[in-house]
């Protein structure tokens, strides 16, 4: 088709290239992490990752050819879809390790909260675009926030605080870039933060009840502040991850030769702590490469954002950039011991199909906006 070629000419090739690099690094890291301890080896992990990336790339291509502006018209359905999916999950979902995060349809299980992030970006972009003249005051913030809180709490109820926080960060970033005032954001979120700080302090000092936070989440916070308080218990993950990272030194211990990863001292090594495997086996050089790739990718997003044809496109890319940024900050940050532990994946690299597919779909949205940055001549 003639118009497709025109569109492809506009395509930013740097984004797919960076994405491909990260996915390949992900294959390497998951293979190494997956070979540790478990007999049968890494092939089953790698197979899942390859299958998910094929599916993700197919969805990505599909999305590219669908003009993003169409989502603007269906924003209410998108929002209803989020609420339905998350509620349905709470009723029907599969519980794994204390969290109800998986929905099984036929042979496929996936995490609705991952889908919810993408849908929420689209909905918020549409909502903030429509109400762009009402955002520069605190009422505007609270009104917008009212749309975020239902999915936020539905995800918290799944015991997935990490993803819920991602959602909140996406909202804050999009709201700010859409024209919200930093002062309003600081007042509202600073206030909530202060209340939580006081609640936790009183809870620890006086034993007053602590709403919203579960005991394991509180323990993670305590361990973050002082991992040495219980090195074989709540501080174990933090300490072992830090040892894995540090012992990689400049050049790393080599592929599949990291003792912390291969001998099982590092927990959750193929998912949440995959960055520790990279750090241990490839050293600071590996860390610098991976962080560099993420930085360049997000930098490209910002470029695409500023070239977008309309505000709706601008906000979609802003949401995607915020999502990746927060994932990297939180996941790498917790591995390096400067963020408390929450179980969110490192995009493209952590083992897990839902995350990989979602990340590729998000890239698709960015490319979609990118291709349509100029007026198209029919």
């Amino acid at each position: 088709m003639h118009w497709e070629k025109k569109l492809l000419k506009n395509l930013n090739y740097r984004i797919p290239l960076l994405t491909a690099c990260l996915i390949i690094i992900g294959f390497i890291a998951v293979s190494s992490a997956g070979s540790a301890g478990i007999t049968g080896g890494y092939m089953s992990y790698l197979r899942t990752q390859i299958a998910a990336s094929v599916l993700g790339i197919m969805l990505l291509i599909l999305i590219i050819f669908l003009d993003y502006r169409i989502f603007m018209e269906y924003d209410i359905f998108i929002y209803a879809g989020i609420i339905f999916l998350l509620s349905f999950l709470l009723i029907m979902g599969t519980t794994v390790g204390g969290g109800t995060r998986w929905l099984t349809i036929g042979p496929v299980s996936f995490q609705p909260s991952e889908v919810a992030k993408i849908f929420m970006i689209l909905f918020l972009a549409a909502y903030l675009e429509r109400n762009s003249n009402q955002l520069d005051n605190i009422r505007g913030l609270l009104k917008s926030l009212a749309y975020v809180l239902p999915p936020f709490f539905l995800i918290v109820l799944q015991n997935d605080l990490g993803t819920a926080l991602v959602l909140m960060f996406i909202f804050v970033a999009m709201f700010y870039l859409a024209g919200g005032r930093a002062r309003d954001i600081l007042i509202v979120f600073g206030g909530v933060g202060l209340i939580f700080f006081l609640l936790i302090t009183f809870h620890l000092a006086l034993g007053t009840p602590l709403p919203f936070l579960r005991s394991y989440q509180l323990n993670r916070l305590i361990a973050f502040v002082n991992p040495g308080i219980d090195p074989r218990g709540i501080g174990y993950n933090i300490i072992q991850a830090r040892i894995a990272v540090g012992s990689g030194m400049l050049t790393g211990r080599g592929f599949m030769a990291g003792t912390q990863s291969q001998l099982g001292f590092l927990p959750e090594r193929h998912t949440d702590f995959i960055f520790a495997v990279i750090s241990e086996e490839f050293g600071f050089i590996g860390v610098a490469i991976v962080l560099g790739l993420y930085f360049l990718l997000i930098w490209q997003f910002i470029k695409v954002m500023s070239q977008a044809k309309d505000r709706f496109g601008f906000l979609i890319v802003a949401g995607v950039a915020a999502m990746f940024f927060f994932h990297v900050l939180e996941n790498v940050g917790m591995t390096l011991g400067i963020m408390p532990i929450t179980g969110i994946p490192l995009p493209f690299i952590s083992y897990g199909g839902s995350s990989l597919v979602t990340s590729l779909v998000a890239i698709g949205l960015v490319l979609n906006v990118n291709m349509r940055r100029k007026k198209i001549v029919f």
């Binding site: 700010y176 540090g246 001998l263 750090s279 600071f284 962080l291 400067i338």
Partner: protein
């Protein structure tokens, strides 16, 4: 909007910069430190226990060896997620011979002694049947490990138990002390507790080896990196003739039950206590036999007691753990007349022809009312010095003691006793030896706040009063007479040999001390001791009259206060004129020396291989004798 994008860019750059810097801090600045921590995580140094040295008799019979057993360990981090610890213990208690309380108490006791990943010792020495039952169910028993371990094997059970001693788990206090001394012990180690096992712990224990292994997070071994074999403990070769030892132990046991029977038939005769006997080579100090009754089975200590079994032994009034030969000091009774006799010969110009007169069987200190009595209630008339020994006549020895007291102000007899080694340990290679007591004026003032009276010297002269000695000390005195004044440090171990057969240490049979007495003094005493056994009036003649060899001996019946209870003593050596061995027999509350002498005769018959020539000697002798 441009402004907001700029701020977003600043935030992104700042955050990535922060992550870079933090990674550099961990990996480059602190990298080596974390590398060491990673190495500590993965490398575990596991001790490999050395097999404990074996113990052989003088003829090369193996007495103590090691066999294989199985211990159960609990690995907390291998517990399956669906199982709790108490659930696991409940299940285990159903399978093997134990209960949950025992498992739990062992767990809590051993928990602090074991390092991370080592596992906690739950149960030692499970039977092969139990081991198989546990191994068959290892799927349901995740977290329970079976490990091979050496078990001390005492081939002859309770025979020689007081010589060999026993082993046990190191106590917390001892562990702390040993570690402070820089010795290589860890919690749960098996260590010698009593007897030779204790005395020669440093030789028997060997040197621990180690395995440096790579472990995973569960502490499972993945690779062997480096190892050093343990050095087995050294073997002990004893001086003890095991045939004689068995014979002695059997005789002592028979004697105990024979006296018990007598006591049940006759109210006058007291219930006997423990019995003990030692035979020693007089020219080297080597112990040929050292027996006791009651005894204990050291295998019980190796396999582990139940609390009830342990209480039973500990609360037994006969104290089966006590080696009465070295750990029990009481009045020597008339055996001490050897010492008094030597003092008299050396200091009072007494010789074999000196005559005494016992008119009434009573002796009075001039100016004192209370008489000192002989064991007969009539006078024996005229006796020469050697006959006084042969008859064990108290009146003669009262007189001699009184003269010694008068001439030397009560010091000379004490000095003579001390020269013979009384009041000091013999230095035998067994732990817990008692020194006994040779009382003197200053001892009496300090402990009883009383002066030294002539009566004290007179009592001491016949081996009564505050004087106390162990059987081994009396054996040394007897041996010194036999070898004419040499004191050897008694020993049970002839040599210590490593696993290549090389001698590490050998007993040196040189006299430790030469006594200052004249040769004639011993000869005069020997003449008296021969009269004890070989004349028709001697106090042990009924036992030794028909003995094929010339044996010198001395009876002793030591009174315990005024209750009519007495300990029975007998010492002897032979054959005169070229003696080889000396023997002592002690029977706690044995009533009269007449019960002790036959045991000595039987041991001598055993030593000299006189099986056919010596008949049954049991129960003979003058029941009223000293």
């Amino acid at each position: 909007m441009e402004n907001r994008i700029k701020i977003a860019k600043i935030v992104v750059v700042a955050v990535f910069l922060l992550l870079f810097v933090r990674a550099a801090q961990l990996q480059i600045i602190q990298g080596e430190e974390y590398f060491r921590m990673a190495e500590n995580n993965r490398i575990s140094i596991r001790p490999v226990n050395a097999p404990r040295g074996r113990i052989y008799s003088a003829d090369g019979d193996i007495l103590v060896s090691n066999k294989l057993t199985y211990n159960l360990y609990y690995q907390p981090n291998e517990l399956s997620p669906e199982m709790t610890r108490s659930g696991l213990f409940d299940f285990l208690a159903e399978i093997i011979e134990t209960d949950r309380e025992t498992l739990e108490s062992n767990y809590f006791r051993n928990q602090e002694l074991s390092g991370p990943g080592d596992g906690v010792l739950l149960r030692r020495n499970i039977s092969v049947e139990d081991m198989i039952r546990v191994a068959e169910r290892n799927n349901q028993l995740q977290g329970i490990d079976i490990r091979e371990a050496p078990l001390r094997d005492y081939i002859y059970d309770d025979i020689g138990s007081h010589i060999i001693g026993h082993i046990g788990e190191i106590s917390k206090q001892e562990l702390r002390d040993f570690v402070q001394q820089g010795r290589d012990y860890t919690g749960g180690d098996i260590i010698g507790i009593a007897g030779l096992e204790r005395q020669y712990e440093d030789y028997l224990m060997g040197r621990r080896g180690f395995e440096e292994v790579e472990v995973n997070n569960l502490g499972h071994k993945e690779n062997l990196l480096r190892s050093q074999d343990p050095v087995p403990g050294y073997d002990l070769h004893l001086t003890v003739d095991w045939e004689l030892q068995q014979r002695t132990e059997t005789r002592l046991e028979e004697k105990h039950y024979y006296l018990k029977e007598l006591a049940e038939e006759d109210d006058e005769i007291p219930e006997p206590g423990g019995v003990a006997a030692v035979m020693m080579d007089i020219n080297s100090g080597e112990i040929l036999a050292m027996g006791n009754y009651p005894r204990f089975d050291p295998n019980k200590f190796a396999t582990g007691f139940s609390n009830a079994e342990y209480d039973e032994i500990r609360n037994d009034p006969l104290q089966p753990m006590l080696n009465r030969n070295t750990m029990f000091a009481v009045s020597p009774g008339s055996i001490f007349k050897i010492v008094t006799g030597i003092a008299a010969i050396e200091n009072l110009e007494v010789d074999e022809n000196t005559t005494f007169y016992d008119a009434t069987g009573e002796f009075r200190i001039p100016g004192w009312e209370r008489p000192f009595r002989n064991w007969l209630n009539y006078g024996e008339g005229e006796l020469d010095f050697t006959r006084a020994i042969g008859r064990s006549n108290n009146i003669v020895f009262y007189e001699l003691s009184y003269e010694l007291y008068e001439e030397f102000r009560g010091t000379r007899l004490v000095e003579t006793a001390r020269e013979f080694g009384l009041g000091e340990v013999s230095g035998i290679d067994l732990p817990g030896e008692r020194a006994g007591l040779v009382p003197d004026g200053s001892w009496k003032r300090q402990n009883l706040n009383e002066g030294w009276y002539p009566g004290d010297s007179i009592n001491m002269g016949i081996g009564q009063g505050y004087l106390s000695t162990t059987p081994l000390q009396l054996l040394q005195i007897t041996a010194a007479v036999a070898n004419r004044g040499k004191i050897y440090q008694p020993t049970l171990v002839r040599k210590i040999v490593d696993n290549r057969g090389e001698i590490i240490k050998e007993n040196n049979p040189e006299a430790d001390k030469e006594l200052s007495f004249a040769r004639e003094s011993y000869e005069i005493i020997e003449q008296g001791l021969l009269e004890v056994t070989m004349t028709d009036y001697g106090t042990a003649s009924s036992v030794f009259r028909d003995f094929p060899l010339d044996i010198a001996g001395k009876t002793g019946t030591a009174q315990l206060g005024y209750g009519g209870l007495s300990h029975a003593w007998f010492t002897a050596y032979g054959p005169v004129p070229d003696p080889e061995v000396a023997v002592v027999v002690f029977i706690e509350r044995g009533d009269t020396s007449q019960h002790a002498a036959p045991v000595a005769a039987d041991m001598l018959a055993g030593y000299f291989d006189l099986e056919d020539e010596v008949g049954e000697t049991e129960g003979m002798g003058d029941p009223a004798g000293p």
